[in-house]
């Protein structure tokens, strides 16, 4: 067998994963560690539903072989939820009906969070670009864009939700 033991920190918890070959981070997070916000979508890097933060950077879990992630820190939406650092974005998603079937929502919130961490006052174009890797087949995107805009406004006023 060619399995390797890889040590990761997922949402602050140390995990030791036996991974072989091209096992993806998405498979590990969802199937082995039960982080269900990491969706099994296209598995091709096309839908963004498995978006997570790897060492603080936005990444697609389906495209990352877990074998390359020794020592990496992974944050899924569950992790942001525990720290409530995505709370304001989540509230805005509810207020603007930005979640319908909900499949894209966790990826959308992770992408929005990555955007707002880097650019607290995004333009509408910035938001559209930030979520351009996340497919939503329900909302037509407008409520999502509005939700992110509104979250940015709230965070700018100091309601950081933490």
């Amino acid at each position: 067998m060619t399995a390797k033991l890889v040590q990761l920190t997922v949402n602050g918890r140390e995990e030791h994963i036996a991974a072989d070959g091209l096992t993806s981070l998405q498979q590990v997070l969802r199937e082995k560690l039960d982080y269900n916000t990491v969706k099994d979508g296209c598995t091709q890097g096309g839908c963004g539903a498995c978006s997570v933060l790897v060492d603080g950077e936005l990444a697609l879990a389906c495209l990352l072989p877990v074998s390359r992630l020794e020592g990496a820190e992974i944050t899924t939406l569950e992790g942001l939820n525990e720290s409530n650092s995505a709370g304001v974005i989540q509230e805005s998603f509810v207020e603007h009906s930005a979640a319908q079937c909900g499949f894209c929502t966790s990826g959308m919130i992770i992408s929005a969070k990555a955007l707002l961490d880097e650019n607290p006052t995004p333009s509408r174009d910035d938001i559209m670009e930030a979520i351009s890797g996340n497919l939503c087949r329900c909302t037509g995107y407008l409520p999502i864009i509005e939700a992110v805009q509104s979250a940015a406004g709230k965070l700018a006023k100091g309601g950081d939700g933490e």
């Binding site: 993806s24 495209l63 072989p65 074998s67 390359r68 670009e129």
Partner: protein
């Protein structure tokens, strides 16, 4: 399942390539390799992804060994003495955020969404299956040279020759070099969305005009218009030495449209792609000539 290898030096990588030969595949950002790996593996449904269908330049999922190049220090961007030198592992995000020519950065920014750009590499883009490889099209217009680490030492191949010869790598791609572009460099991507969205076709144009307004040097490179990024040589020839005006532009656009070989895929039909090649080559040339094009996005 493939064995995952993570060499720390170029020497080590070279030894692995020698030892495993064709049973070793290379993975950089993983945005092609992994999608290919997972489509076969995905719950045994046997769904072929765009990477597995049809001819391609790289093959990962069935390899016994996969070599990851991300610890080889190939993520440097250097620009001096008029030469740009990109490590093969430079990410699209880093390229987009660099101080390299604006057009190259724009092209990097049109690859996928932000999460994908954090992973996808310039080196990978050279080998990407069409219609991906839009940055490679810009590099082709910039007369880029590929530098491979090969058993007998570094080997340099013009990107145009590399594609013309079928895209076979003599070793590990380590760097992409090109002269700082003279004249105007333009990039246009035809996609169904303004941000993100897979490429229908893309056009990269580098053009220099003499004092009398005639074309003194021109490179037109097309993405999504053949099995690999393609130079529109017939169009270039029609433009050379001519004034950059409507007649020459129309003729060049028609020649580019005629002399390409786009493919059908779920993104667009070959029929549509061919027509968009004509439209976008015309637009790029018109922009370079300072002519307003009706209906063209700003």
């Amino acid at each position: 399942m493939a064995e995952y290898l993570l060499p720390r030096t170029l020497g080590e990588a070279g030894e692995l390539m020698m030892a495993h030969g064709r049973s070793l595949a290379i993975i950089a950002g993983g945005t092609s390799a992994m999608r290919c790996g997972t489509c076969r593996g995905k719950r045994g449904r046997g769904i072929a992804c765009i990477e597995c269908a049809g001819p391609r330049l790289v093959s990962v999922p069935n390899s016994a060994f996969v070599m990851d190049i991300q610890h080889l220090g190939l993520d440097q961007i250097e620009a001096d003495n008029g030469l740009l030198r990109l490590g093969a592992g430079v990410s699209m995000r880093d390229l987009a955020a660099s101080d390299l020519p604006e057009t190259l950065r724009q092209a990097a920014r049109r690859v996928g969404g932000p999460a994908l750009r954090n992973l996808a590499t310039v080196g990978g883009n050279i080998f990407a299956r069409q219609p991906y490889g839009t940055v490679a099209a810009v590099l082709l217009a910039m007369d880029a040279v590929l530098v491979f680490a090969a058993p007998d030492g570094p080997q340099r191949i013009d990107l145009a020759e590399f594609y013309a010869a079928g895209g076979s790598a003599p070793g590990l791609l380590t760097h992409i070099e090109c002269p700082h572009p003279e004249g105007k460099l333009l990039f246009l991507k035809c996609a169904r969305q303004r941000f993100g969205g897979p490429t229908v076709i893309s056009v990269a144009l580098r053009i220099e005009l003499a004092d009398d307004g005639t074309v003194s040097a021109v490179r037109i490179a097309l993405g999504g218009a053949g099995e690999h990024p393609l130079r529109a040589v017939a169009a270039e020839q029609l433009l050379s030495g001519k004034p950059l005006a409507a007649a020459a532009i129309d003729a060049a656009a028609a020649a580019a449209q005629e002399n390409c070989a786009p493919a059908d895929d779920p993104v667009a039909s070959a029929w549509y792609r061919r027509r968009m090649v004509g439209v976008y080559v015309g637009r790029a040339l018109s922009q370079a000539a300072g002519i307003d094009v009706e209906g063209a996005p700003a």
